[in-house]
């Protein structure tokens, strides 16, 4: 299957949840140094679970579609579970094969979310 499947391109062209979240519980900024892709994510929690994910950012179709999809799929997940997600989980969630050369693109969104949660843990 094509990495640029209809679903990926759809999320790239019509991003979901791409807006600022006022009074977010958690927020973080993440950038891919090599390509300049960047994301700011905002989370609202409901107890130990993710209640809302919003974000702003710019970059390639893979990085932007990935955060758009995550902003829908991770809602309701326990933050402890989200922290354990790895590249293999992201491939499953995106539903397309991601080559090594696009790993950083696909992972940008998850890294931003994990960073926001991690920062919270440190507090």
């Amino acid at each position: 299957m094509d990495i640029y499947a209809q679903n990926i391109l759809d999320h790239y062209k019509n991003p979901r949840n791409k807006e600022v979240l006022a009074r977010a519980d958690l927020a973080s900024y993440e950038k891919n140094q090599s390509c300049g892709d960047e994301l700011t994510v905002f989370l609202k929690l409901s107890g130990p679970k993710i209640y809302t994910i919003k974000y702003l950012g710019q970059g390639c179709a893979i990085s932007q579609a990935s955060i758009s999809i995550l902003s829908e799929k991770l809602v309701g997940d326990n933050v402890a579970k989200v922290l354990k997600y790895k590249f293999a989980d992201i491939i499953k969630i995106l539903g397309v094969p991601i080559s090594d050369r696009r790993e950083n693109c696909a992972m940008l969104g998850l890294r931003a979310i994990q960073k926001a949660i991690d920062k919270n843990k440190e507090k």
Binding site: L9, K13, S34, C35, G36, D37, C60, C105
Partner: protein, 401 residues
């Protein structure tokens, strides 16, 4: 005569498609002559140079030093002025750490251009944190040309000690009027370093004529092996500089308390060098000389014009740097498509491109774009390849619309 068949990789397939290699500014492909010279060294002459009193070492040394003669002649330098390094990056670091540390002070000004590769910015920033001098950057015009009026103003400021400038930017591909700028700098006692890395595969370089203090380049961007590079320096400058790396071959005597450096150029070549690589680089110089600049230039001009004519018909493409004279290096902004997506998808068609900032983040920030898609050609590319690239770009645009 230009022969694609001299380059074995060009007949190969990638992901089942014929290889269209448009990433020559990153590294060029290698002709059989270079591949053979390198492997012949390992299969017939492998031995350490400058050390053994034995016939094998003697043969290896002879071939290594003969290579230095060929490479020196290629840029019209004297052999003692040609120092082998791992590449242009190491060459610039050598100048920064050796000449820079010994000669620069806090009140000095260094001049670079906004279009420099990171390798001609970062070594100076590293030194700046140690010494504390000021760095000024020459800006570029809207069409990518170096702003010569601004350059003159910056260079003529009191306190400027050093000018580091690329012969041509690896993003814009525009050839700077180096001779003119070096002349101005020299008239004011400024030390000049020219990064000629992008130029050597495309046109002749004559250090004697340019009259620069230093000139650096990488072998792998001019048909030679990776891990090879040259630092050219004027003899009196090199002679006065302290050694960079310490180790074998760069010394003439060593005691428990002190050492005496070797003569030039060995003073700057510590450790066993990349012997096979240097022999391969000499073969690359020989190959380019045999082919002749007239033929290379004519073919590349033709490709450049063809590429520009075709790309102009695509309204969704913008080229970064349109001024002449230009090398066949084209950094593109594709409206609505991120360079990484374009490089990935076109790569699946066998078209090898570079996406990103091409180690020139300050330039991309200056141009107001986060990244670009670079197609860099060489004399072995063809109009048919350009046609294929254009066709696939149009298909790509449709997919994203």
């Amino acid at each position: 005569m230009i022969k694609r068949s001299d380059f074995p990789i060009l007949t190969k397939k990638i992901v089942g498609r014929p290889l269209v290699y448009f990433d020559n500014a990153a590294t060029t492909q290698k002709p059989l002559a270079v591949i053979k010279a390198t492997s012949e060294y390992y299969s017939k002459f492998n031995s350490n140079v400058h050390r053994g009193i034995n016939p094998l070492a003697e043969e290896a040394t002879k071939r290594y030093e003969k290579s230095r003669d060929i490479i020196a002649a290629f840029i019209s330098a004297k052999r003692a002025e040609v120092i082998f390094t791992r590449g242009a990056t190491e060459s610039i670091n050598l100048v920064a750490r050796s000449w820079g540390e010994a000669n620069l002070k806090k009140s000095d000004i260094l001049v670079l251009s906004i279009a420099e590769h990171h390798s001609n910015i970062v070594p100076w920033l590293q030194l700046k944190t140690k010494i504390g001098f000021k760095i000024l950057y020459i800006p570029i015009k809207v069409d990518g040309r170096l702003d010569l009026m601004a350059a003159q103003k910056i260079i003529l400021q009191p306190g400027v000690k050093f000018l580091g400038l690329s012969y041509a930017s690896n993003v814009l591909g525009i050839v700077n009027p180096i001779k003119k700028i070096v002349k101005l700098a020299r008239a004011h006692g400024i030390i000049t370093l020219i990064d000629a890395t992008q130029v050597l595969a495309h046109q002749p370089v004559n250090v004697h004529d340019l009259d620069c203090s230093f000139l650096v380049f990488s072998g792998h961007k001019m048909l030679g092996p990776t891990g090879t590079g040259v630092l050219y320096g004027k003899r009196e400058l090199l002679a006065a500089m302290p050694p960079f790396l310490g180790g074998g071959d760069m010394i003439s005597t060593v005691s428990l308390d002190s050492f005496t450096p070797n003569i030039l150029p060995y003073k700057f070549e510590a450790g066993t060098p990349n012997i096979a690589g240097v022999i391969g680089l000499a073969a690359a110089c020989q190959y380019l000389s045999d082919l002749g600049w007239a033929e290379i230039r004519a073919k590349e001009k033709e490709l450049e014009q063809y590429f520009l004519d075709k790309i102009k018909t695509l309204k969704f493409i913008r080229i970064l740097g349109t001024a002449e004279p230009k090398l066949p290096i084209f950094s593109l902004i594709v409206e609505g498509i991120h360079p990484h997506d374009a490089a990935d998808l076109l790569g699946q068609e066998g078209i090898i491109l570079r996406a990103g900032q091409h180690c020139a983040e300050p330039l991309h920030n200056h141009l107001g774009c986060s990244a670009s898609l670079r197609a860099s050609l060489n004399f072995y590319n063809t109009k048919r390849e350009i046609d294929f690239f254009i066709k696939k770009l149009i298909e790509l645009k449709k997919k994203f619309n």
